[in-house]
Subunit: 332 residues, 2 copies
């Protein structure tokens, strides 16, 4: 495929490298001239047959593309979509943004406004963040084994578009998770966005006490690791998903309120032990163990039901009529 990647940070750069390494034709673009220069130098150093080109404008990047991957932070998505539309692009488009409802709304606003045939859209999100960022941190193997959401809105997304992207992404050895934008945003609020806020809060509260900084060990190191992410990225991620992060943070605050009450109980150790038990058991049961692969019909209802029970797709059949799917094994 001819693939254009717009935005060459950690994720966009890794998509560029990973797809180039699996035999696709890649053209990258970044708004930052220094990043374009870095990406161009890196291309020359890649093995022959796994190189990419770097375009000077979004228009040049998408002109001959079969697929456009938008890999810019949420605040920049609307501008990129407008450029892609104005370039007359009518092919398949996906993104790698960490929130899906707001991107879907932007696509609706920016692309459907195109005269004639608008580009077709499948929202995506590889769950492969790191606390490092930038093209320099990009890695062709970043997606191996990672969950990669591809949104499927029943009655809206074309299943054949979804399967085309799923085939591409399973080729990077990612686990493709079919779900809706709403279900995605709610789930990542709980397991990614809220944890970023917690990590940052812990680091901030400890910062005033030098003794605490010296005594901080493994639980602090790991518990606050993602707080080192650039604050503008966390802000875009959490603020862009505020509608789901708010309730997820409320649920967490309610749970912590119970822990606070347990600390004031007449027997705090006993009260805390009861409070801790379910979360501790849940963490020991994570990550979910993969069940035996099964073959499913490549239909929206089957795929969405798979995502809802925590399952994923590992392969799309050549005839696009079935997929190989894995469901997690219930713990115990």
């Amino acid at each position: 495929m001819n693939v254009a990647v717009i935005g060459l940070g950690l994720i966009g750069g890794s998509v560029l490298r990973a797809l180039a390494a699996t035999g696709h034709h890649l053209l990258g673009y970044d708004a930052d001239p220094a990043t374009r220069a870095t990406a161009r130098t890196a291309a020359a150093q890649a093995p022959p047959g796994q190189r990419w080109h770097v375009a000077q404008t979004v228009g040049d990047a998408v002109a001959r593309a079969d697929l456009v991957v938008v890999a810019v932070p949420l605040p920049a998505v609307a501008g990129v979509l407008a450029e892609v539309r104005d370039a007359g692009y009518t092919g398949l488009l996906t993104d790698v943004t960490s929130v899906k409802e707001p991107v879907r709304a932007l696509v609706e606003r920016e692309l459907r406004a195109a005269p004639g045939r608008p580009a077709r859209f499948v929202g995506g999100h590889p769950m492969a963040g790191r606390e490092t960022s930038g093209f320099g941190a990009a890695d062709a193997n970043l997606f191996t084994g990672c969950a990669w959401v591809l949104c499927l809105e029943e009655g809206v997304t074309s299943v054949s578009d979804w399967l085309e992207l799923a085939a591409l992404v399973t080729g990077l050895h990612a686990r493709v998770v079919p779900t809706t934008a709403t279900e995605h945003d709610r789930a990542v609020a709980a397991v990614s966005h809220v944890p970023h806020l917690l990590a940052t809060a812990v680091a901030a509260v400890a910062a005033d006490n030098p003794l605490a900084g010296t005594l901080a060990a493994g639980s602090f190191r790991d518990g606050t690791r993602v707080a080192a992410t650039r604050p503008e990225l966390i802000a875009a991620m959490c603020g862009g998903n505020a509608a789901a992060v708010g309730p997820a943070l409320d649920a967490l605050l309610a749970a912590l309120g119970q822990a606070r009450a347990a600390l004031d109980a007449p027997e705090p150790i006993e009260a805390l032990r009861a409070w801790l038990a379910p979360g501790s058991a849940a963490r020991r049961a994570w990550p979910p163990r993969a069940g035996t692969p099964v073959t499913l019909p490549a239909r929206a209802d089957e795929l969405l039901a798979l995502g809802r029970v925590g399952g994923w797709v590992t392969r799309v059949a050549a005839d696009r009529r079935t997929v190989t799917a894995v469901r997690p094994v219930p713990p115990g």
Copy 2:
């Protein structure tokens, strides 16, 4: 030295192995017969000259000891102290419990009640937890580079007792942090105990959603790692330090309340960015960088001032009149 270690879990077992490996005479004891058998078998497999013995009772363990290390969870400390007292032990005693005020109070109650000369006490806490537990996870190198608190209550703790333990612990390549029980408990509440509660809350809240479990990636994995610790250990640690954990959790809840308000702000991304900045900067400045080692007089006031600025002791001079100390370099 003849050292008795009471309690052969992860920390006690590691103290046993580490001190045996550095030429001391070690005698271990655990209330669990199976653990004693495991420790005995492991001793036979250790290199000659680095072995230890396992006693059948606390009395046997402490009978000829110069130092007793109490390495049981907080709820078991009182019972062990009573046994040590009833065995007539009058030497030096330390502990490795993760809270220091409650242990100091128990020592006061249990040991000072001894007829004649009571044992001398220096509270200790190696900051070297892991989510694994038990003698099987014990590791002679667990303390290399780790911060090891030794409490020094001005006018109460004998500085010569403190230096004796500091010399022993620096021999394990730990960084000895001099502080008071109160300052310790406040610091670890913020950087260890509260993070354990947060990790468990995140794991609990995510548990109801199988999709969330599948999408959970690095921020969830690292942010909840310590939730897999046995709940009774976290409960003992946090509940035993409830007086300090309560206010630390309140500080965190207040910070998260600000994040919650930022999510509801007219421009949540901008509001969150401002909220995130200090914690993000603090995390990037952690861990503190070590300054140039200096020589300090081995006096309580000097040592406590060192601990208060986040410093530590790396060596005790042979004449016990000075220590080699390191202060962290301020960031920037």
